[in-house]
Symmetry: C2
Subunit: 210 residues, 2 copies
Amino acid sequence: MTGESAADRAHAFVRGGIMDGTYPPGSMLSENEVAASLAMSRTPVRAALARLQDEGWVRIYAQRGALVRELTPAEVRESAEVRHALESAGVRRAGPRERERLREQLTGNLDEQERALNAGDFPTFTKLAMRFHRAFVELGGNATMLAMYDRLQDRQQLSIIRSADRITDDPQQVIEEHRGLLDDAEAGDWAAFATHLDEHQSRSHALEGR
Amino acid sequence: MTGESAADRAHAFVRGGIMDGTYPPGSMLSENEVAASLAMSRTPVRAALARLQDEGWVRIYAQRGALVRELTPAEVRESAEVRHALESAGVRRAGPRERERLREQLTGNLDEQERALNAGDFPTFTKLAMRFHRAFVELGGNATMLAMYDRLQDRQQLSIIRSADRITDDPQQVIEEHRGLLDDAEAGDWAAFATHLDEHQSRSHALEGR
DNA sequence: AGCGTGCTGCTTGTATCCTAGTTGTACATC
DNA sequence: GATGTACAACTAGGATACAAGCAGCACGCT
């Protein structure tokens, strides 16, 4: 009746700790320490750390401990590229029916994005933008692809949080570009979509550049 | 000085067992059973099974056991789509220098493919073809993307083994299509590459269809 | 016969104990 | 003072013990 296993709790705990800065990148965490914090034994903590390593959050060194990974700028960029590849593929695979329904699905989202940006509510905007981009992958109707994408978005969220990334200097332009992407997707023009997506990326995150 | 951990051995053992048919899809395997086979305790076996679940080989049911997953035709198709998306993305991201070196890297491979096909050596051909396709992902110079691709190729190999897939009725045409893909990639024409890749796929695996 | 109940043998989940490797430090030695 | 070395305090990996859940089956009741 516990609902979730101890290993799940440990996983959520450490993952949360990494996200909220309790465990900054570069810090070492030991099974004992985590187990003590949660009043459980090392066994489920080990399972959780193994899973977190597989998901790319930490790196376990034999007989040394688990190091909270630093996301290098290269990794952030690479993750973004893969995300873009999957979003474009989603648009490419989409059938006419799915594309028709896309606009009604996303117009509400776009309006909310605009509101959030005008209100200066970046966390909400980030969440909305991530859902917006995810919709293009959903479009492809490929569950495997979507699962991979979700894992990457996970990482992206972390990098956004860490860099306190302002997204852009020109909020209105981001909305415009989003509308443009929606147009491309609706038209089924995946090549244009891919190109615009890259431009969108390079403009939005010019700051973290490198 | 052990070289590899017990957990690694367990992982390789079960993975191999699934691949060579010792553990057919639908069969249940228990930690105790595997542990006994390898003369080790349940602990490393447990870690291995968790990893295998994460990699999509088995599904662990609480208090019931680990079920060797059946790869549905839909999943096989989905994996192929993702692979294609990544290969196309690799070509798309490639710079001129990488594209120049591509032909010299792959001409040898193509010749070997032809030899293997003419000799009726399908296992060798499969291996070569997988390396051939992988090269396009490498082209993009994105390690994250390549890691994802490798994991998918893993699954593909399994599906090929299980379906005893003949690849095609017309070996020579496969070679021709591969040469065509190389041409597209060398020219940097990623849109054409993506299109030809899909055609290649649908022709090559028309048999398993559905 | 049909149905419910509890027993039995399985499974994984968790805790604890033991082993072995690594690292930093204090101390002896040069 | 610099350097090498032994040791103490960590670490994770593995083995084992115990707890708890699920499923099938036999048995007894209706």
